[in-house]
Point group: D2
Chain length 329, copies 4
């Protein structure tokens, strides 16, 4: 049994807290959140206690800390949890600054604790099956990957202003998936972005529609596109072309119902909300973290995965701003 403390009881903290409580191999011991009421309601639903952050980090009855607080606190809390000898599962991103992430990774390494970063999509049953088959050689040698992510609607501009921009806030998931599937590091990043969905996003200095091209040292190519808008649901797809074939993972529809009439044959919309689409992924992520702890090894995606994804996001941001490709490594 892994005994968890949860830092942050907001939307994503609620998901993690309930998944920990439902796991047969974990127990949710305590929850901390500065917002009055947030920790309490989750504690009531799960049987956990409410404590302060300091109490959780100092607790002898807690083995692992799940960090689901605002981004700008992640690195600091990882440092403190690592110093306290806790295993850490931290929501992405580690930090908006790659330099700050590197500091944290050193602290974690020194402490010798497991650190996992919450790139939940690696645990989506569809994407996980895709990656497993690619790794088994189902399509031969990987040559070209296309990743697409589109949110149903943009977040508030107030959020966007502090998000680090689309490449760091949204496309970072796709950068992690690209690395997960390419099996080697990217050496070249090209990027274009536009504000087409909401002019206020452009005025805030960000883009809402973007595409990048990545290339690895051996010549593998990856295309990624993102948009803050999709009228037909939460669009999340990956396609991998290799020397011996192609494999793809697609969207999940709300039902299998199809209606045929004068205008054609209509399938139900795809699931519209990331918490619905990735419900299984979040639960499996907790189990993978527990597996690593149980087996005494570093989990994946680890801190270095967090750092490399952030470097790609930085490079894409620069490439977009300068109009020039960025070389890495």
């Amino acid at each position: 049994m892994v005994r968890f403390g949860l830092l942050g009881a907001g939307r994503i903290g609620q998901i993690h807290g309930r998944n920990i409580a439902a796991s047969k191999r974990a127990v949710l011991v305590a929850i901390a959140d500065p917002m009055p009421g947030a920790a309490e309601s989750l504690a009531e639903a799960t049987g956990a206690s409410v404590r302060t952050l300091d109490e959780i980090l100092a607790a002898g009855d807690i083995d692992a800390v799940l960090i689901a607080t605002p981004t700008d606190t992640h690195a600091d809390f990882i440092d403190r949890a690592a110093k306290a000898g806790k295993a850490v599962l931290c929501e992405k991103p580690v930090d908006l600054s790659s330099a700050r992430i590197e500091e944290t990774l050193k602290a974690v390494e020194k402490a010798g604790v497991p650190l996992m970063i919450g790139f939940n999509r690696r645990f989506d049953p569809n994407f996980a099956a895709l990656q497993a088959r690619v790794a088994e050689g189902a399509v031969g040698t990987v040559e070209l990957i296309t990743i697409l992510s589109r949110d149903p609607a943009p977040p508030p501009v107030s959020y966007i202003k502090h998000s680090g921009g689309l490449f760091r806030d949204m496309m970072i998931h796709d950068f992690d998936m690209a690395r997960f599937l390419l099996g080697e590091e990217v050496v070249e990043v090209h990027s274009v972005g536009s504000s087409l969905v909401d002019p206020a996003i452009g005025e805030a200095g960000d883009v809402d529609t973007a595409a990048v091209l990545l290339k690895t040292a051996s010549g593998k190519i990856c295309q990624i596109s993102n948009s803050r808008r999709a009228t037909y649901g939460y669009d999340q797809r990956i396609e991998v072309h290799g020397s011996e074939g192609m494999i793809s993972a697609g969207n999940v529809h709300e039902t299998t119902v199809r209606l045929a009439g004068k205008n054609g044959v209509t399938a139900d919309p795809v699931q519209n909300f990331f918490l619905e689409r990735y419900a299984a992924a979040y639960a499996r992520e907790i189990e993978a973290f527990i597996d690593a702890i149980a087996e005494g090894r570093q989990p994946r995606p680890n801190g270095r995965d967090g750092l490399e994804a952030q470097r790609l996001a930085d490079a894409a941001t620069t490439a977009h701003q300068t109009g020039k490709s960025v070389k890495l490594g």
Copy 2:
């Protein structure tokens, strides 16, 4: 909060017990099962107590009884629970004898308690959405329905001998779905059956592959086919043709992964196990039962739905055995 007692802690009782325990509007108070250990392990997982059947029926802290015991006990336990004033959710079938079901329905009517029969497929999100749209007129007036159910593999012959035969044991679900979708009663039943999957099933006097034709008074037609074998997963599909179009609900695939290679484009197999395919249906069934209790009305599918499905199963059995169609109503 509806307070449940669970009778029977076998495979299906375990599912129901956990769904009751997970419901925000229900509490699993007690479990009874004559097999040593069965009730205990479920009680431990859910926080319920272990009691005898008599204790549950006599309990003042229990509002509703879920019956998941062997078929030949259903009618008797419904009678007793009704007499004790409990709301009842009973697994299908009520009984293999229609006459016995009628007696039980009278007892339930006299007691004035809610009785729901566990035709879980009505609550499958795909089939429920299909029926809702048909009822809304999405395809106009219903004209012809095709229902297909195929199990991955046959049950043991020892089970089949006491099952009442394929039409009563397996196709009864499809008869209920037919009535659910046709919106009127069947007046004519044609039936053919064969033993193609396992000769031992034929030797036991049953069939493993069968098809029926149903017709209603207004001329609507329904085709049903069943097989105890499907190499590609648990096959469960419905197609409804109406005056203005066609609507269908199909199988659920294990993932959305597709692999394209020299032999074509292969989608992952469909889910292979009824508990996986109908996991959501079982949970929604409990909620629908609670809804009816909360609103003080009879739930659906009710006892009469159980009786009518049984009559269709009887008619199909007779039609198959005599080679002649059977008229009803």
Copy 3:
């Protein structure tokens, strides 16, 4: 080069005439049609001459006759063409009377000429591929087949009155496909029919919606359903279940375009017209007939295939009218 005479230059005669003219192994020598102008326009388009029926049957420069005249002339023209030593490709059905068909088959046998019946669906690339794979054992031993045919809209009631009824006019194609796929003869026929699309069809003594159940001596089952209405296009599907899997052939959509929006993901309608859907089938049918002539063997589907399909149509008609199943063979 096979030299053809064409009897009948109506809608279906036009199709056959153009396909013969386009074949690299055939030449369309002459066309006969009692309607002024019909033969002439086709002759102009194809370079054929216009002759009378008698001239075509007596011609020394014609090897084969394609009969595309009204149904009630088929048997007589087959007799005469056979006597004249011509190979014959006759549109289905041979005749509405099975007794009359038997007479004709004797005459053909005596003459020793090739006779092919125009069950064009055997040559549809989709259905032909399906049958070839079933014959190769792709699904093991066949157990249960489902065939569905729905026309976009009913023909005029005036046509229906002389058509022999839905089972002989429309479902006869499906009976032929059933025999093509089952690989053995049917011994039992169950049938239901209704008039749901157009009351005038019912008043004319026919049905517009129907379903049959067929069973073979070894226990294989086939379901067929027909309707004179399909708002979403010309619906033509087959599904074959066997001991080792399932194989199906579906509809052909007008394009591969799909539109995703608030209401879901809509595929273009299926092709709406049988001449569009079966364009390739008609062309391939001519080539198969030429193959048989070139190889000096009887073509398939042959006269006996025409007779057996007619017997099934007769049986289904009787079963529907009496409400009782019909035994064959």
Copy 4:
């Protein structure tokens, strides 16, 4: 009736020649080809005569010339045909040099003859329907387009050496489709390419796997990817995202047959050959050219479309070679 002369009776000339001969509004008068026998066999099949190039250009009985000769002759033959007052349909590309294309366009403009460039994909029924619906606003304002083209196998290296490279030889079709769908000109081109399929292609100075990013002045984005390899057939897909939805056009499968077994549900491979996939497109292209002549207007895609696609191919080649994005316009 438009009277055609055909220059070039190679693989693509054969296709065009037969389509002209089959058109009800065109006649194939004469064919010229320096290879002995090529023009003769096509002439025999179509009823055309064999003439020299000079005879065709000077002929009084020829209205239009279709140029299907090697690329390096296109511009010269367009010049000469235009001077002779013939309408011209020329295979893509006009020339590998944009400067040379501009000269030719001036000559055509001076002559005042219609000039159409053979970007056949605009006439594919799937892509044409896609574009028509995009133009009607089916997805609102276009925001992001993804175009994918993959050939089953690379051409011989000897061909590649004189092809102008992948961007000019293969991706030029996709550049034309991008312009067709974007509805505005591209101002920025990013490009990456690799030799992953065949090292000999890399040694010849070309790439066999490539991806580009295009951006228009208003910020619309287009992704294109190409590969000289696809084990699963000829892969040709387009996806258009707009403010109100998404529309796509996909591959054409060989049949609608699907086989379900232990490994999943397998659809037949996609069509493997461009002449099969684009058979309808080539026929419709001829009709569109005839339409323009009949209506006395310039056809589309016209010479300027040929020039702009070539400029994009040049820019992508430069961007790939320099590693830097290229600005246009």
